[in-house]
Symmetry: C2
Subunit: 146 residues, 2 copies
């Protein structure tokens, strides 16, 4: 039995921090810092996913453009080839795609609109909870036999 993305959204909620395409990179850095998150979904209406801008994108722009980075537009540095998932996607599939594509954040879509976001940290947290359940089940099994 493999858990699904919906199990993560039930715990963390479906809120997603978005930023419009025409924002400057400094605003993106401020939003990432303020919310202590690793990526923002780029969306003008909060529903359509136009791109994703991660801490890594900001660091790359900073390395490349130096002081001029503050005024670069989000649209210049965001990834537009966004990997998304659905509520029904299994965690195993999600782990595989994150590992292969070396990404840490995957927006969740429902009816074509933004319905959450899952991070690699959320997956590790879920896996830890699973481990606790496994240990409890094992204890019950062992005590049932003895």
């Amino acid at each position: 039995m493999s858990l699904r993305v919906s199990a993560i959204l039930e715990r963390k909620g479906v809120a997603v921090v978005t930023i419009p395409r025409d924002a400057v990179l400094l605003a993106a850095a401020e939003a990432l810092s303020r919310h202590s998150i690793g990526a923002l979904v780029v969306s003008d209406d909060g529903r359509a996913v136009q791109g994703i801008v991660s801490e890594r994108d900001v660091v790359r722009a900073f390395a490349r453009f130096g002081t001029a980075a503050v005024k670069r537009g989000v649209a210049d540095v965001m990834s537009t080839d966004v990997v998304t998932c659905e509520r029904e996607t299994t965690i195993d599939e999600l782990m595989a795609v994150m590992s292969q594509r070396r990404i840490r954040h995957v927006p969740v879509l429902s009816d074509g609109g933004l319905a959450g976001i899952v991070s690699i940290g959320d997956i590790v947290k879920l896996r830890l909870d699973e481990l606790e359940v496994e240990n409890e089940t094992l204890e019950q099994y062992v005590s049932g036999r003895s």
Copy 2:
């Protein structure tokens, strides 16, 4: 049976990208970008861990100082309260500490010196490999019974 940090180091190797304490933040951003990694160990001699500087630290400095961030020193923004592990640390323990502390990179120490670094991505990759082994074992078990 829980895997240990040594299992990850056997796959990825023990190389760690370090940066000296007196480097400027722009140099840190360049090193993070060039190596496509999420954190640098701050170390003057490549052995003693004096701090860690992550993509998140760079983004925070960028948000806080704007253009002046390029000239800030690594020592000003690094975390000095570094969580480390050993080769014998179990992956389950490591996942728990990463999740609790909300960190993605943990340097590995051996005899007090730097002996590798483990990221949250490395753990997910290992977990995927484990899943494949579990599935194979399950298949053998099922075919053995039929």
